[in-house]
């Protein structure tokens, strides 16, 4: 049983690598496009950092955090955003599958339709900015000081946990897409919500902070991992994060199953 499961996983991994390679080759066929896209991302990144410096130029702090600590929130948001875009880029194309009826083809293939529409278009182009981002993050971390190896390990684990929440959001969007054909703006709402985590959560009123912790867990995706890197995290925070990701993933999978039951194949 275990060996059979492992074989299936290996087949999926091999399939994902093949599709990812092809998608990346297609993207890189247009070198000018890659260059412009990357330049745009760099400009956005630099401008926002300038904005953060401007924001803290008088007081040197924002919500009790120094500029370097505030930068860490922004960088953590970017890490989650970049990896989520890389892994689940196909979700952005899901509406076409539904309105053209080609989702029927996906359903008839001997692979999980959910995995196909989640991971079927990973584009390495999205990863270009990740390496300089991590280097910059390391620099910012040195400016903060007193960051232990344990903090870094907990941070990485919580980022992985945050990605599970991001994955759940993407599955919710897919389920919504099956029922309503609305995907594009829904996925952008997810991104707008995660952008709220670019700043320390305590700049928001308490009620909003609670919503971002328990209802839309931006805190579990960005704020709590960042706090863990700075060494200001309670074990309760870690437990809350893990519970929230488990709840969100279960709910999203349920919503996907429900959506599939309602799929009418109307466009095919």
């Amino acid at each position: 049983m275990y060996t059979q499961r492992r074989d299936v996983n290996m087949r999926y991994l091999s399939l994902w690598l093949k599709i990812t390679t092809q998608t990346t080759q297609v993207a890189f066929a247009s070198r000018l496009g890659v260059a412009l896209f990357t330049l745009g991302k760099v400009i956005r990144f630099v401008f926002f950092i300038l904005f953060l410096f401007l924001l803290t130029s008088k007081t040197r702090t924002l919500g009790g955090y120094t500029i370097w600590e505030v930068l860490l929130f922004f960088l953590t948001f970017n890490v989650i955003d970049i990896i989520a875009q890389f892994l689940w880029r196909e979700v952005y194309r899901f509406r076409t599958y539904i309105v053209s009826g080609s989702f029927d083809m996906v359903l008839t293939k001997p692979i999980s339709p959910l995995l196909r529409v989640l991971f079927g278009g990973s584009d390495a182009l999205d990863l270009i900015t990740l390496v300089p981002l991590v280097i910059f993050m390391a620099y910012v971390a040195t400016q903060i000081g007193d960051i232990s190896i344990i903090n870094v390990i907990v941070y990485i684990l919580l980022i992985a946990n945050g990605l599970i929440i991001a994955l759940s959001f993407h599955i919710f969007v897919l389920a919504l897409g099956v029922i309503t054909t609305e995907v594009d703006n829904a996925i952008w709402i997810f991104r707008e919500i995660t952008q709220l985590g670019r700043f320390p959560l305590n700049i928001y009123p308490k009620a909003v902070g609670l919503i971002f912790t328990f209802v839309i867990p931006v805190a579990a995706m960005i704020t709590i991992p960042t706090n863990s890197l700075m060494g200001i995290l309670s074990p309760a925070g870690v437990i809350i994060c893990i519970c929230l990701s488990g709840i969100f993933l279960s709910l999203s999978l349920l919503s996907w199953k429900e959506a599939l039951k309602r799929y009418a194949s109307a466009s095919s």
């Binding site: 247009s30 000018l32 496009g33 260059a35 412009l36 896209f37 330049l39 745009g40 991302k41 400009i43 956005r44 401008f47 300038l50 904005f51 401007l54 924001l55 008088k58 007081t59 924002l62 919500g63 309503t180 609305e182 594009d184 703006n185 829904a186 952008w188 709402i189 707008e192 919500i193 952008q195 709220l196 700043f199 700049i203 928001y204 009123p205 909003v208």
Partner: protein
């Protein structure tokens, strides 16, 4: 003229067919507003002021600039590049209408719908959060403000069309537009008032068209510009409209010469 009014109406109706999509789009815009509102509210609650802007000053700037941005930046001209690339432009060239006027009419329909929704959202926003907003009571200033917004619409239309016309020479129209969005998001004044920047940088920005899409209009509304500054701003704004108009027309004519209706 009648046909362009009908095109504007059609654009309105078309957007309402995909109601869920449009409502989700508005939710996105509202989330952006909430995020910036709480940020600036927090910063000015703690510090008292931000480079001379007190809490009501910065919140008024934010709300007005977001509203103006909603109006000026909503456009359908982004589709022009793909219409050129896919040869769809041919369908328009054989019809008895001006392609650019057609898109301007579509923009009007799109803006009307966005502003209608934005007004409802703002009403809810004011009812729930009761922001410290300064209502402008000077009727003349309001008239000047409305005029500057309308001129901003024309300026942005030509800039946006110009970027889409890259489609005549390249399939990478989205690349320059992506960069343009990043730049304009920062130097139009949608994140913060541009006059908090170092003076030499601000003086340089004032010569470019971008501050005349949001920043200039918001400052007029707030009554923070002198008569001379308003006059100078209008002069630069109108000059940029003319420059963009002539460049757009020239590029459009050159583009048509190389257009091959590829894809049809």
């Amino acid at each position: 003229m009648k046909k362009y009014i009908q095109i504007a109406k059609n654009t309105w109706d078309e957007a309402l067919i995909y109601r869920t999509s449009f409502i989700f789009y508005r939710v996105r815009e509202l989330l952006k507003l909430f995020s910036l509102y709480f940020l600036w509210y927090f910063v000015t609650s703690r510090n008292g002021d931000f480079f001379g802007y007190d809490q009501s000053g910065i919140i008024t700037y934010l709300l007005i600039s977001t509203f103006v941005g909603d109006f000026i930046f909503s456009t359908r001209t982004t589709a022009i590049a793909s219409e050129i690339n896919e040869g769809i432009l041919t369908n328009f060239l054989v019809r008895p209408l001006s392609y650019l006027k057609y898109y301007f009419a579509r923009d009007i329909g799109d803006k009307a719908l966005n502003v209608s929704f934005a007004l409802v959202e703002y009403a809810a926003f004011f009812a729930i959060l009761r922001p410290p907003f300064i209502f402008q009571e000077n009727f003349i200033l309001i008239l000047i403000f409305i005029t500057s917004v309308l001129l901003g619409v024309i300026l942005y239309f030509f800039i946006s069309v110009l970027i889409s016309l890259i489609g005549f020479w390249s399939n990478e129209g989205w690349g320059p537009r992506f960069i343009f969005y990043q730049v304009i998001g920062f130097i139009s004044g949608s994140l913060f008032p541009l006059d908090v920047l170092p003076k030499p940088l601000f003086a340089l920005l004032e010569l470019l068209p971008f501050p005349y899409l949001i920043f200039f209009q918001s400052k007029i509304y707030q009554g923070q510009l002198s008569g001379i500054e308003i006059g100078r701003g209008f002069l630069i704004l109108i000059l940029w409209i003319f420059i963009m108009y002539f460049i757009t027309l020239s590029v459009w004519k050159k583009g048509l010469r190389v257009y091959t209706a590829q894809g049809r």
